[in-house]
C-alpha cells in the first residue's frame, strides 16, 4: 500500500503558511514558521533530497527560529520617541 505522504504533508505546509501570514501576532508567526520549516524538512526527505533536508533541519528549524524570536524580542511595537 503506497501512501501519498508528500501530498498530505504539503497540504499541512500550505495550511501553516496561510496561517503564518494571517495571524496577527509576531511571535505566533515565528512559531508557525518553525513548524513550516520542520514540515518542509520532512518533505525534502520524502522527496529524496537528503542534503537539502539536512540543511533545512539544521538551519531552518533550529537556528532561524531562534533568530526570529531574538529579533521579535529586541524590537518593540512602537518607537521610543
Amino acid at each position: 500500500m503506497h501512501w501519498p505522504i508528500d501530498m498530505i504533508v504539503l497540504t499541512f505546509v500550505i495550511f501553516c503558511a496561510i496561517a503564518a501570514i494571517t495571524v496577527r501576532d509576531l511571535l505566533a508567526t515565528a512559531i508557525l514558521f518553525g513548524a513550516y520549516s520542520f514540515m518542509m524538512c520532512l518533505l525534502w526527505a520524502v522527496m529524496g533530497a537528503v542534503d537539502v533536508a539536512f540543511t533545512e533541519a539544521s538551519v531552518g528549524a533550529g537556528v532561524s527560529t531562534v533568530f526570529f524570536v531574538a529579533a521579535v524580542f529586541r524590537t518593540s511595537r512602537r518607537t521610543k520617541d
Binding site: 501512501w3 511571535l27 513548524a35 533541519a57 531562534v66 524570536v69
Partner: protein, 103 residues
C-alpha cells in the same frame, strides 16, 4: 518487507498524520503562546519519528542522519521561546509592582 512490518508502518503513518493534524490545529487556534510552543515541540518530535518510520519503510539508512540532526536541534526553538517568555513575564511583573508602588 514482510506483512507484519508493512502493517506496523502503515499504522504508524496513520497515527503520525493524526498527530500532525491535531498539533497544527492547536498551533493555529491556540489562545496562548504556551500552547503554540508546545505544539511546535510536538511537531518537531513527530517529524523525527516520521523520518524514522520513512527510513524503515524505504530501507535507505541515509535518512536516519536527518532524524538525528533534527533531534539535536529541535529543542533550541523551545528554549529560546521559554527564555523570551521568562524575560517578558519578569518585565510585566516589575511594571505591575512599580504601578502599585506609585498608587
Amino acid at each position: 518487507m514482510d506483512d507484519f512490518l508493512s502493517l506496523a508502518v502503515n499504522i504508524a503513518y496513520i497515527g503520525l498524520l493524526i498527530s500532525f493534524l491535531s498539533a497544527i490545529v492547536r498551533m493555529v487556534l491556540g489562545p496562548t503562546h504556551a500552547d503554540r510552543v508546545l505544539a511546535l515541540d510536538l511537531i518537531g518530535f513527530v517529524t523525527i519519528s516520521f523520518i524514522a518510520t520513512y527510513t524503515i519503510s524505504s530501507g535507505q539508512t541515509a535518512f536516519l542522519d536527518i532524524a538525528i540532526t533534527l533531534a539535536l536541534v529541535a529543542f533550541l526553538g523551545t528554549v529560546a521561546f521559554v527564555k523570551f517568555m521568562k524575560t517578558r513575564l519578569a518585565q510585566t511583573h516589575n511594571q505591575k509592582e512599580d504601578e502599585s508602588w506609585k498608587s
